[in-house]
């Protein structure tokens, strides 16, 4: 049995190492965004999107269509990389993962939402939302809790 487990661990290790190297490479590249040279590249996109970006830039979205595209892609890459980092952190420190109710309370405090003063209501809402929806977010809980509070006051 022990030999089998060791074989499985050895088999899995190169894959894990390869993934870890990719994650390290991703963060290394993200760190270079502000200092690296730029390169021209082509992106296939809906014609309407290209036109929409032009119109949005004229309305003040960003200084140029290029800035808009780079900012959007940068945001997406950074949030994805941060998600990987947070998940790795929780794998090493499971007790550090905030519960849905704790995230909802943090969201309420960030937004100066009156629900920040209702942690018990948020906890009840978090329980209910977690049962209704896998992968629920803090903002799902805030919306549910606001509806509960509204119903109670009606």
């Amino acid at each position: 049995m022990l030999r089998f487990v060791l074989q499985e661990v050895r088999r899995a290790m190169p894959k894990r190492n390869e993934r870890q190297q990719q994650v390290d490479r991703l963060f290394e590249l993200l760190d270079r965004f502000d200092t690296d040279a730029t390169v021209v590249t082509s992106v296939r996109q809906p014609v309407a999107m290209r036109e929409a970006v032009k119109v949005a830039v004229a309305l003040g979205l960003d200084p140029t269509p290029n800035d808009a595209a780079v900012a959007a892609l940068r945001d997406r890459l950074e949030s994805f990389a941060q998600r990987l980092a947070l998940d790795a952190h929780y794998a090493a420190h499971p007790e550090a993962r905030p519960s849905l109710a704790e995230r909802a309370l943090a969201a309420a405090r960030l937004d100066d939402d009156p629900l920040a003063d209702e942690p018990e209501l948020l906890a009840r809402a978090a329980d209910a939302v977690a049962r209704l929806r896998a992968g629920a977010t803090a903002d799902d809980v805030l919306l549910y809790a606001a509806a509960l509070a509204e119903a109670q006051s009606a």
């Binding site: 963060f27 959007a72 945001d75 997406r76 950074e78 949030s79 994805f80 990389a81 941060q82 998600r83 980092a85 947070l86 952190h89 090493a92 420190h93 007790e95 550090a96 993962r97 905030p98 704790e102 995230r103 309370l105 943090a106 969201a107 405090r109 960030l110 937004d111 100066d112 939402d113 009156p114 977010t137 803090a138 903002d139």
Partner: protein
């Protein structure tokens, strides 16, 4: 009645950074909850970012180049807000207006006053000093306590 103001920028103070850096810190999990919310919102393409004033980084001994800071760099996802000459003048002015606040608190308040996108929320353990500083800022900020 309070107005909900979903932040465009979240500014972290020194204890928030200390708490994020150390999994054994008593406020580690609480502070991560704020970071999680910003990550959830960014993943939905909402425009929100986390800022660490450089004065905070100095106080928290956060050297981004240090191997020991690698995890903090990654989980916090914060960009720097520098203390240039203009910012230093405003921070000094704020420090003079509010007796007893620290240099770093004044720098955090200055950052909260100018960073984009607005509005701004400061994540801090020292909400009393920041409420006093907020009274002198040119735009409203939210203080979120850890």
């Amino acid at each position: 009645m309070r107005q909900r103001r979903r932040p465009g920028t979240v500014v972290v103070d020194s204890e928030a950074v200390d708490a994020l850096a150390d999994p054994q810190h008593p406020k580690h999990r609480d502070t991560l909850a704020y970071i999680e919310v910003t990550n959830e919102r960014r993943a939905r393409n909402e425009r929100v970012r986390v800022i660490a004033p450089t004065a905070v980084r100095v106080e928290a001994r956060w050297d981004r180049r240090a191997p020991s800071a690698a995890n903090l760099n990654r989980i916090c996802g914060a960009r720097d807000h520098g203390l240039d000459s203009v910012a230093a003048n405003r921070a000094a002015e704020l420090a003079g207006l509010v007796p007893g606040v620290s240099v770093v608190d004044a720098a955090v308040a200055q950052a909260a006053e100018v960073v984009e996108p607005a509005p701004t929320t400061i994540v801090t353990s020292d909400d009393e000093d920041f409420r006093r500083l907020a009274a002198y800022l040119s735009r409203p900020v939210v203080i979120a306590r850890i």
